[in-house]
Symmetry: D2
Subunit: 335 residues, 4 copies
Amino acid sequence: MNIGIIGFGYWGTNLVRNFALQKDADLKVVVDSRKERESVLTKLCPTATFSTSADELIKNKDIDAVVIATPVHTHFELAKKSLENDKHVLIEKPMVPSTEEANILIDLANKKGKVLMVDHTFLYTGAVKKMKELIDSGDIGNIKYFDSTRINLGLFQPDINVLWDLAPHDISILNYLINEKPRSVQATGVSHTNNGIENIAYINVNYDSGFMAHFSCSWTSPVKIRMMLIGGDKKMIVFNDVEPTEKIKVYDTGYDHKTDEEKKQVLVDYRTGDIFTPKLETKEALSGMAADFISAIKNNHSPLSDYNSGLEVIRILEATQISIKNNGKEVLVKQ
Amino acid sequence: MNIGIIGFGYWGTNLVRNFALQKDADLKVVVDSRKERESVLTKLCPTATFSTSADELIKNKDIDAVVIATPVHTHFELAKKSLENDKHVLIEKPMVPSTEEANILIDLANKKGKVLMVDHTFLYTGAVKKMKELIDSGDIGNIKYFDSTRINLGLFQPDINVLWDLAPHDISILNYLINEKPRSVQATGVSHTNNGIENIAYINVNYDSGFMAHFSCSWTSPVKIRMMLIGGDKKMIVFNDVEPTEKIKVYDTGYDHKTDEEKKQVLVDYRTGDIFTPKLETKEALSGMAADFISAIKNNHSPLSDYNSGLEVIRILEATQISIKNNGKEVLVKQ
Amino acid sequence: MNIGIIGFGYWGTNLVRNFALQKDADLKVVVDSRKERESVLTKLCPTATFSTSADELIKNKDIDAVVIATPVHTHFELAKKSLENDKHVLIEKPMVPSTEEANILIDLANKKGKVLMVDHTFLYTGAVKKMKELIDSGDIGNIKYFDSTRINLGLFQPDINVLWDLAPHDISILNYLINEKPRSVQATGVSHTNNGIENIAYINVNYDSGFMAHFSCSWTSPVKIRMMLIGGDKKMIVFNDVEPTEKIKVYDTGYDHKTDEEKKQVLVDYRTGDIFTPKLETKEALSGMAADFISAIKNNHSPLSDYNSGLEVIRILEATQISIKNNGKEVLVKQ
Amino acid sequence: MNIGIIGFGYWGTNLVRNFALQKDADLKVVVDSRKERESVLTKLCPTATFSTSADELIKNKDIDAVVIATPVHTHFELAKKSLENDKHVLIEKPMVPSTEEANILIDLANKKGKVLMVDHTFLYTGAVKKMKELIDSGDIGNIKYFDSTRINLGLFQPDINVLWDLAPHDISILNYLINEKPRSVQATGVSHTNNGIENIAYINVNYDSGFMAHFSCSWTSPVKIRMMLIGGDKKMIVFNDVEPTEKIKVYDTGYDHKTDEEKKQVLVDYRTGDIFTPKLETKEALSGMAADFISAIKNNHSPLSDYNSGLEVIRILEATQISIKNNGKEVLVKQ
């Protein structure tokens, strides 16, 4: 199987490194419009050819699959053309800027019988796999809230705001762990640049059951925080991704509440107990994602981070976009 | 000067301990409706008399000042009666449940010429004093955002939600550090008890200048986080209150942005530099607050945490109360 | 039961606070040579009488028990006189400067039928209790090493070096957890003052079984570290005492080794697994220690931190004293 | 310039990755006795040839420089043969097992006019460079102590103990930062395997001036600690290498002591002040080391981590070897 990658920037470099080491596929072509990136590629993966033409790659009959790691606004055209030319397609997150475009690509992939996948790398980490396992086992109980913070000094993107840049990671994890479909979102943010693109933003995602998710994203924090709290009625999980090894802690912490009818008070009994820090799989997530793409093509199965995963993230982001421009108004998520 | 304290629960105990050690005043009476608290008082402060009658204390001619550390819904009546009986009054935060009641107390204090103060303890910490000093010196530049997280396993209050319980700390700090008046708030939250009182909640406070503050409060987190980020256009401050000594870090971190007219792009230049961790005053804040109350009475000056500080916190909380019940709607803050 | 405390300095203040709150005893007299400490006592414990005469206290017929919290070189005389006057005695760590003196006191206590106890506060902490429980249950396996670091900016003591000041904490824990008797010690250190008193020092304690303990103590570290590693052949414990709540972590980590006869190599198989952070009792240790002293007197039982515990610490410290003055020479521990 | 690397194990892989990316040299041959490593090389650096014969590489006329990353006991023979065949040589730390062998290699390198360098990677880190700069500037004052801890779950080496494996990092840093020559060492350790090779060990390095360095090394710690304390009489440095970014902190902490002649006491005045966390260069250290090797060859200068740096580490390790086998006896360091 022959692979081509379009976009050899920061993340593209990681993709090249990981696809170059895959056993069941060969990385043949890497495309970037900046000619000066050729010498970097020659050092990093001398067996791949450098090209400045995405078009040439997409029309190359020897190429089976295309990986798209370019700016978001170019994803749709590149993916569409790739599918039309009978390529399997892996797109960097976020998939495309709208659910409309996502649906066109999904229909096309189905029609062509090709794999269409989105790189939600986090689903391939040992930490997220462990959380999925813990939640599915029932150990955590009913999930009551989800709170995610992802802040750092980050590159201001010229075409998308901080939510489109950072929140796909956390929303894809949310959707993977929680089965309920979101009802609505509220998003607020602030832009410190004169193009009006938010560099700090917050989202609430609301659900019919009363479950609630909150996201805090920033390109403008002097400290790097990547923390997720997941509260169940039996136990609570803290996922601290800046911890080198002890990323997941399960707190045997909970509370029971009952109503004292006489005093009309809610009485809450706290329970705090031991903490459990499970051992996690340490394989590089991006390598697992690349292997899943190759395996999905080869064995004709659906990858973990499939187009539905991509679409559901876009549904939420699209709603946040409307909410943030309407000053935090509640906006329904399309189903 | 003779002091009486009403309310000898968790916080009242701290107040007793601190007022008992003040040099310029004597703690004479401690009131609590639970008779069984008497033996605890005898051990903790044998020179104070225990009583179950707040009324008796308030009417006691020998008492100059009353400290109110009871549930919030009782603050107004107790404070009003105390002022009417010519006592100076210190009220635990939050001052009262409404701006209307706050204004009545303020008018009465002015009429009576008595000190009316709210215990915003954090204003007396070395950390907050240092932040004030740093911001006032101009070192941080124009403040662009304020982000506060205060979460822990906390006692569910029967009469007020998590915002009324925890956010007064952070809002009083915000108001102390930032001179601009807030325009509006948006608040959302979730209740895990059947009395509908929110145990997790989020606030945005919006300002005309574009400055924005965000608060995250929870009684239901397995981990204790008390962190504040303050971003200026010159430097950024991180206040991590669970750090035992290195609570304040000043990051020489910033960014400049300009617009590339040709490419219609915003170009952002990051600057990351050294970090500075100033030494902080370590005196117990509550003792400083108690001393300020006594000194304000004695020397007829306005305490740092005066009634305006209390009122401005209530103005924001009152607006959040309306917003949270209207699903996050933007609500103007009264001026 | 009436208690007197001699020494109202830093630690004496903690003792006064804790003995004042005990239910089964009354703190009657506090002695300090510095007259100016009287006013502090009046605020802290108005029911106790202040005195500058230890002698008077020791001869006071109404006093049942004496607590000695003075400089180490005064411990022996004060304790001896107290026992001779039929008082029960609690001595601050380290008990006395020599095993000879310790043995004299022990003989005297036995003859008089009085409690003689040393304040090894750490034995009363939830963390040490939990480690004892874990080790005694066999969960950790055979203990192979013990490594303790206790460093901070500490007060330079004028009469004892850093080992006599800080190591009693860790040695008392070692002796409590490990049943084997030590064979020998080696100690090295450095003095940065011209009185030759070491402010940084290291100890090895050697055992016949091959088990080894290492201690690192310093008054001259800009950071505060209080960490203990205990390695068993089944699991390992980390006790991090500067962590506010998660002080004990049990690592399901170990290794098996076998000899490959052919290649003459030792093959080591690592096993790393989950981490378990047990919930700890949070009662103040000093209060538990005070209660144990009172209960030992009342119920005629041996306290946890009894004179043997005190003596065994002195045996090791005495040997380190010889070793450190002989440049780290191995010195046998008296039995 | 053409480079060959002997040894394609864990560290060899890092060397291959870094030398492959160097601009002024080509990595031509990689040697490993395990034939199955060839396919890994083909993926990692397809332009290099794989070989199982070190001899062939060393005699290859096209090769200018040889990098030796094999077990320590093979270093001497491989380096000697390489120098004899007119190759420049870079050896992994520790250089060789004895000062005798080190001196033979040094003489040979001088005779042949070739670069002989040891890979003390840490000297090329931003953190160590910054410490050197701070100390050389006089900001820290006279250095009074040096305390290093490097512990983790580490691979038990079959031929060298934990000191030969881990301490070269810290000793090379010590020697780089401190100009005084060591007088003697004391080393103790414990072996948990039946080959008698220590897996936990401690070193004191003693100096005529009274300055003292202490090292704690372990392959058997469940937690990873890499911390260095450097205490000057003006300021103190903490180097915490497991911190992702804030690795170096400079504490404006110190103490003055004077002797009170009357009371015959040493009085110590503490001073604690601000903390300064300098920004560090973030370039990968191994790449800087590789570049220094190439530049030293090309420009005929002495590299930072030259043979003297290697020899001085061996001098200390050789003395620890004698001490540890003599139960911690003081052993002079050869000069």
